[in-house]
């Protein structure tokens, strides 16, 4: 450890790197996740839904007929009675993130390990960050494996290799999925520091999840008319109203994720939400290149 020679000026100025010990926490968390029974169950769940939906999607996809973005359609094609894999992801990713971290802090408190850890030369921030990154990296590993699995099945069954564009889009979507998981993980960790009981923290996280899945759109539907003027008389007001509605819907991580999925996986979709006829004119018929899809988000 470096020793700082200059005197500490204020009380708030803390010595040393704020991330001292981060690596140790991160390694331990990942090891815990990857060897734990909890992870095994979650893994099994994701692999099952992945394989199930991909195989039904394959039955629906005829190579040759319309072979644009075949691999992306593995994610998005649904066939009765099974929804598409993206739909499952939108629901399952939050649950996995919550399951990994709802007891990350209060669990240590209740096991009496927290005070022992905080007596070591680490800051609380480093402990929290280490736990968060450990969870996030676990998610990354799991979903990277799932993506590889999907592409593997694709290569075997479709008989054509994925294009560079498809691979790129799938990778961006992987990033988006991990980001989406990160939001839920951060939320679950927050609850885990607020509530002493792990069960309460888990319930609170699930409640938020259920709220966004079932009720958020209803709330938005109720709130937007209140924000908008009574009578929409000109175009500007119309644009403003629809934009405020879009912002509101997008507060929900679920909508945000759906948008990411739409843009990355369905290149023919160009606009999110309300589209003005003027803008539509400028729209080009060809699918958007990858770089522009990223920009739309």
């Amino acid at each position: 450890m470096k020793k700082s020679t200059k005197p500490l000026k204020t009380r708030d100025e803390r010595e040393g790197s704020p991330w001292t010990g981060l690596g140790a926490v991160l390694t331990k968390e990942m090891a815990d996740h990857l060897t734990g029974a909890r992870m095994l169950i979650l893994d099994a769940l994701v692999v099952l839904t992945a394989v199930g939906t991909i195989y039904t999607a394959l039955q629906n996809i005829r190579p040759g007929a319309n072979n644009e973005f075949l691999y992306l359609r593995l994610f998005t094609t649904a066939q009765e009675p099974l929804p598409a894999f993206v739909f499952f992801l939108a629901i399952l990713v939050p649950l996995i993130a919550i399951a990994l971290s709802f007891d990350s802090i209060n669990g240590e408190f209740n096991r009496r390990t927290l005070s022992r850890i905080l007596a070591q030369p680490v800051y609380r921030d480093a402990l929290l960050m280490g736990k968060f990154l450990g969870g996030l990296m676990t998610l990354t590993m799991v979903f990277s494996a799932i993506w590889l699995l999907i592409f593997g099945i694709g290569i075997l069954r479709l008989g054509v290799p994925p294009t560079a564009e498809e691979t790129g889009r799938a990778l961006w979507f992987l990033l988006g999925t991990i980001f989406y998981g990160g939001i839920w993980m951060a939320l679950a960790m927050l609850f885990s520091t607020v509530f002493r009981s792990s069960a309460t923290a888990a319930l609170a996280s699930i409640a938020v999840w259920a709220f966004f899945i079932f009720f958020w759109n209803i709330v938005v539907g109720l709130v937007t008319p209140l924000l908008a003027p009574d009578q929409i008389t000109n175009l500007e007001q119309l644009v403003a109203a629809s934009q405020s509605q879009m912002v509101l819907t997008r507060i929900s991580p679920l909508t945000l994720y759906a948008d990411i999925a739409t843009i990355m996986l369905q290149p023919t979709e160009r606009f999110l939400g309300f589209v003005l006829p003027v803008q539509l004119d400028r729209a080009i018929e060809a699918p958007l290149p990858l770089a522009q899809s990223v920009l739309v988000i």
């Binding site: 450890m1 010595e15 001292t20 010990g21 140790a24 022992r116």
Partner: protein, 315 residues
């Protein structure tokens, strides 16, 4: 470096209106074992948390090994071993794995970790279970592993909060022996306890705590002299003329009081006057049947002190 390992001046902690620690002055010298003693809720744990920078003092100053725990917590925590009042481990990991994690958090170089972990576990005599999951450990084993966990960083100061809490008397003494062996190696130790009699034997100096205030501080015999007047209590069994015996004993130097109950005589004295008392009994024509000195009891000191405080208030 100065001889003072720890120094606190006017250390105060308030929770809202409630004063948990009230202007505490404390200094601990290198190599001594200091006992922070007092009943539950007296403010011992709060004091310890402030010494480690785990909670911010409301007022006052602390210096631990020359560092300010509030501003330089990493330097303090690197050098000070802290054993909380309730030690928990990751039950699905082995003793070794638990300690490796702590070693890593302390930035101990990779090539030294294995050796340091094994040494620490050896010190607390748990080598035979080093690769067992801590879920299988008994209360006493956990406490010892907690000590190993502290030893792994080769601390210059060890702070233990209620180290014997929840241990049966035999295990408690075994554990105190372990602490004593650390002391003989020159480690400075601060421990807290509400079981005064249990820890008094291993403490060089003690501070008696009550309602956030340190009311008495010093060696056990200093406190005994101050509070009990007589620091020694001597028990005699003798036969003979009662009046004559009493007179002879009361006439001895350093004797404060003599209490007689048939053949059982109790003497309170400032020194260990056993030899003089035995002689006096024989010269007074009595027959000595038994003689023993009772260790000064901190519990007595504590109780007596508060009786006096109460009496003063009443008067």
């Amino acid at each position: 470096m100065s001889d003072l390992v720890l120094e606190a001046k006017g250390l105060t902690k308030q929770y809202g209106d409630f004063v948990a620690v009230d202007h505490l002055d404390l200094s601990i010298r290198r190599g001594e074992v200091f006992g922070l003693l007092g009943p539950n809720g007296a403010g011992k744990t709060t004091t310890i948390l402030m010494l480690l920078g785990l909670t911010e003092p409301t007022g006052g100053e602390v210096s631990v090994l020359g560092f300010d725990p509030a501003r330089q917590p990493l330097s303090v925590k690197k050098r000070v071993g802290y054993m909380p009042d309730q030690v928990g481990f990751y039950d699905d990991l082995t003793a070794r794995e638990n300690l490796i994690y702590i070693a890593k958090l302390n930035g101990i170089p990779r090539d030294q970790i294995k050796r340091r972990v094994e040494e620490a576990i050896e010190r607390v005599r748990l080598s035979h279970v080093i690769d067992q999951r801590t879920a299988t450990f008994s209360r006493g084993m956990r406490q010892r592993l907690g000590l190993a966990d502290v030893l792994i960083k080769n601390p210059q100061l060890i702070i233990m909060d209620e180290p014997t809490q929840g241990l049966d008397p035999e295990l408690a003494h075994e554990f105190l022996d372990l602490i004593h062996s650390l002391k003989t190696e020159g480690t400075t130790i601060l421990l807290s306890s509400h079981l005064l009699h249990q820890v008094q034997a291993i403490c060089d100096r003690v501070g008696l705590f009550s309602q956030g205030r340190m009311v008495l501080q010093g060696t056990v015999s200093e406190l005994a002299r101050k509070v009990l007047g007589g620091a020694y209590r001597i028990q005699l069994q003798a036969e003979g003329p009662a009046a004559k015996l009493r007179k002879a004993l009361e006439g001895l130097r350093d004797v404060n009081a003599v209490e007689m109950n048939n053949g059982a005589i109790q003497i309170e004295a400032q020194k260990d006057v056993r030899a003089d008392a035995a002689e006096a009994v024989i010269q007074a024509g009595g027959r000595l049947q038994g003689l023993s000195v009772e260790a000064q009891s901190l519990d007595d000191i504590y109780t007596r002190y508060f009786e006096e405080v109460r009496n003063e208030k009443v008067n």
